[in-house]
């Protein structure tokens, strides 16, 4: 899959590498700025307060 993507990219190897790095940086930014905070709201809610026992 990734090998096919690599072959689909145009230009010599260093152009492809540059494109890949830009793509990876873009994906990471989207994950860190929007996707992860959204998932963080959903998973593993941790109670930190003191409250009467059930």
């Amino acid at each position: 899959m990734y090998a096919a993507l690599w072959r689909a990219l145009p230009g010599p190897w260093w152009t492809r590498l540059l494109i890949v790095l830009v793509l990876v940086a873009a994906v990471l930014s989207v994950l860190v700025l929007w996707v992860f905070p959204w998932i963080g709201e959903l998973v593993a809610p941790q109670d930190v307060t003191v409250a009467p026992g059930a």
Binding site: M1, A4, L31, V32, L33, F36, G40, E41, T49, V50
Partner: protein
């Protein structure tokens, strides 16, 4: 597309004669190039694993740094607005005690940010919003949540806030680093309340006596002004609760500007 499919004899028939050898050469290469279902599945699973690790890295480390910067910027913006809008200093609640600091009396809706916490021990860029209520919807936004049943800053009794130790801003990550005498500041639209750290306490999550006006002393009439910061303990666990107590020192009215110790932090000018 395919020259063979045309069925028309062309001058390139000599090239066609070599075609079987080309096909053989191509088929020899093909097994390496073919995109197999198992191969794609494997790469997707590896990708999923990497994403989970990235998420954990974000949750336990990078996320708190990013959110800390955002919350700090928010505090600077709000403080500058409060300082700009500073009206006449509010009269003390208790006319018999002119030295008493003003206390917020308005009823606040859940999630309403009414102040910021400054702890020099936690860093010069440490400022975290204090919001009303301790629901997860409040705490997960990076706020310190104020127990609505406890008193407000500056009031006689116990001003108690809770927060996550890690993730969601990790507001009280370094609560165990406080040393006796460390100053804890609460900034509101009225001014800055200075408390001094006294001691830590560890309790079970169901020990609600710490919410009393005199912590752990149900029914006792309060005489001191106390702040309680509360989070989880041990680190990475919710088995216990850690509490940091401070006692009230003095109040700095908003019109007089922030106390020197946190002036750069409050205004964002270092």
């Amino acid at each position: 597309m395919n020259e063979q499919g045309d069925g028309e004899p062309t001058p390139e028939s000599t090239a066609l004669a070599e075609q079987p050898r080309d096909a053989r050469a191509a088929s020899a290469k093909r097994p390496r190039r073919r995109v197999s279902v198992v191969g794609v599945l494997g790469e997707l699973l590896i990708t999923a694993g990497v994403l989970v690790l990235l998420f954990l890295g974000w949750q336990q480390w990078l996320g708190d740094i990013i959110e800390g910067h955002q919350l700090y910027g928010q505090s600077v913006h709000q403080s500058q607005q409060w300082i700009k809008e500073a009206g006449p200093t509010k009269a003390p609640v208790d006319p018999a005690d002119p030295a008493a600091p003003p206390v917020i009396t308005a009823s606040l809706s859940t999630g309403k940010v009414f102040g910021y916490l400054y702890v020099p021990r936690f860093g010069s860029d440490y400022a975290r919003p204090i919001a009303q209520g301790t629901a997860l919807s409040v705490l997960n936004k990076g706020n310190l949540g104020h127990y609505a049943t406890t008193q407000m800053p500056g009031a006689v009794g116990n001003f108690m806030v809770a927060s996550h130790r890690k993730a969601y801003g990790g507001d009280l990550e370094h609560i165990n680093n406080l040393r006796v005498g460390d100053h804890i500041f609460v900034g509101t639209a009225d001014g800055w309340y200075q408390y001094s750290f006294r001691n830590l306490q560890f309790v079970t999550p169901t020990d609600v006596a710490v919410l009393d006006p005199v912590p752990d002393q149900p029914g006792l009439q309060p005489g001191d002004r106390i702040i309680t910061l509360q989070s989880c303990n041990p680190f990475f666990s919710t088995a216990e609760r850690i509490m940091a107590y401070g006692t009230f020192d003095k109040f700095y009215p908003i019109a007089g500007g922030p106390p020197a110790e946190i002036a750069a932090t409050v205004t964002g000018k270092s």
